[in-house]
Symmetry: C2
Subunit: 382 residues, 2 copies
Amino acid sequence: MRVGILGGGQLGLMLAESIQHLGHQALVYERDADSPCHQRLASVTTGTLEDTPRLQSFLQQVDVVTFDSENIPAAPLEPFAAKLFPSLQVLQTCQDRLAEKRFLSANGFSPVDFAWVDEGAPVLATAEKLGFPCVAKTIRGGYDGKGQTRLNGYEDAVRYDRKRQTLDSAPALVLESFVELLAEVSCVVARDASGAIWPFPVFENIHRNHILDFTLVPARLEQNHQTQALTMAGDIAQALQVVGLLTVEFFLAKSADRTPKLLVNELAPRTHNSGHVTRAACQLSQFDALARILTGTPMCRPTLRTGGYCMGQLLGDLWPSVAGALEATPLVQSSQLSELYLYGKTEARPGRKMGHFIVEAGCGDDALNVAQQLRNTVPSPK
Amino acid sequence: MRVGILGGGQLGLMLAESIQHLGHQALVYERDADSPCHQRLASVTTGTLEDTPRLQSFLQQVDVVTFDSENIPAAPLEPFAAKLFPSLQVLQTCQDRLAEKRFLSANGFSPVDFAWVDEGAPVLATAEKLGFPCVAKTIRGGYDGKGQTRLNGYEDAVRYDRKRQTLDSAPALVLESFVELLAEVSCVVARDASGAIWPFPVFENIHRNHILDFTLVPARLEQNHQTQALTMAGDIAQALQVVGLLTVEFFLAKSADRTPKLLVNELAPRTHNSGHVTRAACQLSQFDALARILTGTPMCRPTLRTGGYCMGQLLGDLWPSVAGALEATPLVQSSQLSELYLYGKTEARPGRKMGHFIVEAGCGDDALNVAQQLRNTVPSPK
């Protein structure tokens, strides 16, 4: 089979490898001629998603196609909707923060309390009604904290509106109640064409500056919350009729009655950076799972290996040290290192994901400690 | 760094992936334009090893170079000897069965008893002196039992000599005493540029028709034999001054005094098909280890994960079923499956290695049983 992937970053690259390992062909479509996939894989087409003739000629060549980001235009995919997994409808729901929250709300999946502000309209009245503090988020295109602003009170909202007035077209927004986090977790579930759900274990995520920093399994979370998260993730995948992967990001939040409460933060109908940990922690990775579904290969149950695992990101901030002196650090020599995977990105920008590593230890907590200690051995660039 | 690999089969492909994961470039040189590497990787040059200008232009482009088979001509590599890992001298010793045995013998590494027969000379006298049964093997180019003939007694030798007389140039041979096998094991050791030895665990190999069929770890072998094998493999790598990987294949043989005896069968200065099992069984695979040495990345100790692991080959004999109906078999759906890796070879010949799978279980024996049962679920082609 010829499997198309829209996007040639690290998620596309690792998926392509899994597709190849099953004996099938992976064909990538990517704008940046210097992408990880361009540098490493045989079949990469350079083109933008806006270049409809080029994109459509690519889509004609493949049997099925998926994407490594939900922030892509849906219209040019419409003639090829039958080849797209997950479906165009799933893509459209998950690329629109408001549509996603309305879907969650309508189906009883407890998103964070939210409201919305139309294009060009001021936020103040809506924010006051929702309550401060709250977070204003663009409806499309945000990731890693981009397009988000925290509004602590009346004055922040007034200032924010003043800025909105200066814009030619102030974008529509979602306002979310600010929640006090006890933990952030994510669940990746695979759903195959028969409708069967194959959950991965719950991942606990630690962010820094809104960017995923560490993911550990088993998550340090009470069993009832783990069960609740897995059940909800499976139910959401079912309600959306996903064929492929769905990643559900949750907040474990403090609530008014002091009982921790699990709230859905957002959905990603694809592999997820938190899921890298499955490459070592499970006998089947998130990439293997999606590759199976795309190629019609029957799934097998992803099981968590014994012990604990922690994935640490290597970001562009650290890159001058990583690229120049990683060899001299204990990170690379640790016998607890399960995987060191650098993505081959040529330009290192602060916050850009350049690679990851995974450590194994006796439990999730130990794995996190080891991962943090090891990453601290990489010197901060001057 | 730009790392060259001579050979684009499955060993070259998996090595290239490991080099890429460390953030370096893998450049492959391979004759067959339809090879696994051609189909999957970005940088593959099509050319024969006999096409010296083309080969040398490839060698000029890379910083270091290795090979996925020792059966390659050494002469065109000479001007680039400084880039070659393991060295030209290691390659030349291991590609000549007689030179290899003389080296082993001279250094006290107990090869199987052997003698040699010059080009064009008859085997009878030498075979009688060595004793029957014995095995005649070509000095160059044999693998998977190719170029081997068992001589059970006087009549076999006479018949063999009669055939040799009809040849224009009957090749030089090594004769080996036939040994009764209790087990076949292999050790892969990495030796880095500083001379440090990094052994992988001992693998137990099960062959069928002289072709590797299953590899399991931990090997079902007494601890003293395991230690002896690992020590000897390290000592051989040291004596040869290997910088890279060395695979040592051993026979555990019945001896005259009924004490099992460990004998060296042969050497391969490269990754080995038995080493695939390290992809799941160890936190660092044989490919990762060689990639580290080639790129000057410090090594970390390869450790065996808890439990047992078994790698099973998927050969061309089975291919019509694998390619057509693998999806319908329990093999692909087993939750004990750690890896399923198909090499993307387009032509399936009997005995050709088309892919492998690895299962995890409580111990090596269980893993072997599960692997055998699972592979038996793949129907034999009509």
